[in-house]
Amino acid sequence: MAKFTKKKDGDLPAVSTASLPDIVFMLLFFFMTVTTMKDSSLMVENTLPNATEVKKLEKKDRVIYIYVGKPTQEYQKVFGSEPKIQLNDKFANVDEVGTFILAERAKKPQELQNVLTTALKVDKNANMGLITDIKQELRKVNALKVNYTTYEGDAFNNLQ
């Protein structure tokens, strides 16, 4: 059996790190609950507008996301600075929205195909023309439930 040498008197006692795991776990659980998994990296600027009368989106598996906004710095050289549509991981034109929705819908289980919502995550500086075109495309493929995704906050901040 090893013999422990006695500590010299006058040494500062070490800070106990026994509770460190607990603290870190607490942080971990906090992040696990408030964040969601990233499923596609954003290639467009996406500062969502604010609104007050918001409703929570229902279950995540029933939602199809469409991102709209200016391409981010690294893509601006190639794609210009006009607002673009991002579907999954690539830029798309308006006429591709319909096929995208149909393809995404086909991937979902049968019982969910009729209850899908399209979440429009649109930068607040995007122009309405593009949104109107997207909405027309959505109507063509009968994806009528839309959700204008926003942050919760005073809508008058949108104008700044």
Partner: protein
């Protein structure tokens, strides 16, 4: 071999490292995303039937490319919009066959404004160059106007706010019998103030040609 008397203690020193590793993994792979928004339902595509609507039942809002708002032929700032919409919807100017007004409307019975909330239609036109932020702002104001009126009626009839009722109705933990009662109530309130927002088709088409 001699058995140790005490159970060997699990070494907890590396627990912090493991937890940090997990923490960093979650920090990297997740984002704080919003899952809130304004729900709207688009009209069916083949719905081209034209209906004749009395002009007083139509509330016209236009948004131009400088993000200015034109409401019923007058320029207006967005913060007044909610009150205007409430005044329009809640007007209740129609005289029924038995000589009574819409009994739950508290408006001014102005002959220029809507007959009845059930017939009132809000027409929202936006220019192609208007900003989306402004558009959401307007949609939000409209929703706020409807919610104010619906809350008022829900308070009067059931002593409860409409949005609370709706939250309870959609909450997964509410039981079936409660849901049945709520369903009926929510539908009653919705039918008192149905949300009729039209984003004029005609304008969209004529503008598409300019592309």
């Amino acid at each position: 071999m001699r058995r140790t008397r005490e159970n060997p203690e699990v070494h907890a020193g590396s627990m912090a490292d493991i937890a940090f590793l997990l923490l960093i993994f979650f920090l990297v792979t997740t984002t704080i995303e919003t899952d809130k928004g304004l729900d709207r339902k688009l009209p069916q595509e083949d719905n081209q039937t034209s209906i004749v609507v009395n002009e007083r039942n139509v509330f016209r809002i236009s948004l131009n490319k400088y993000d200015q708002l034109l409401v019923e032929e007058k320029i207006m700032s967005t913060d007044q919009l909610k009150d205007q919409v409430i005044a329009f919807l809640d007007n209740g100017g129609e005289v029924g066959t038995d000589g009574t007004y819409c009994d739950y409307c508290k408006g001014s019975r102005n002959p220029e404004l809507s007959d009845n909330p059930k017939e009132a239609i809000i027409v929202l036109n936006s220019d192609r160059n208007a900003s989306y932020g402004m558009y959401v702002n307007i949609q939000d104001q409209l929703a706020a106007a409807y919610n104010t009126l619906r809350n008022r009626e829900a308070q009067r009839l059931y002593g409860q706010d409409f949005d609370q009722m709706e939250d309870r109705y959609y909450a997964p933990e509410s039981n079936a019998s409660e849901k049945n009662i709520l369903k009926e109530r929510v539908e009653t309130i919705r039918s008192l103030f149905p949300m009729n927002i039209s984003e004029a088709e005609l304008n969209v088409q004529s503008q598409n040609q300019n592309l």
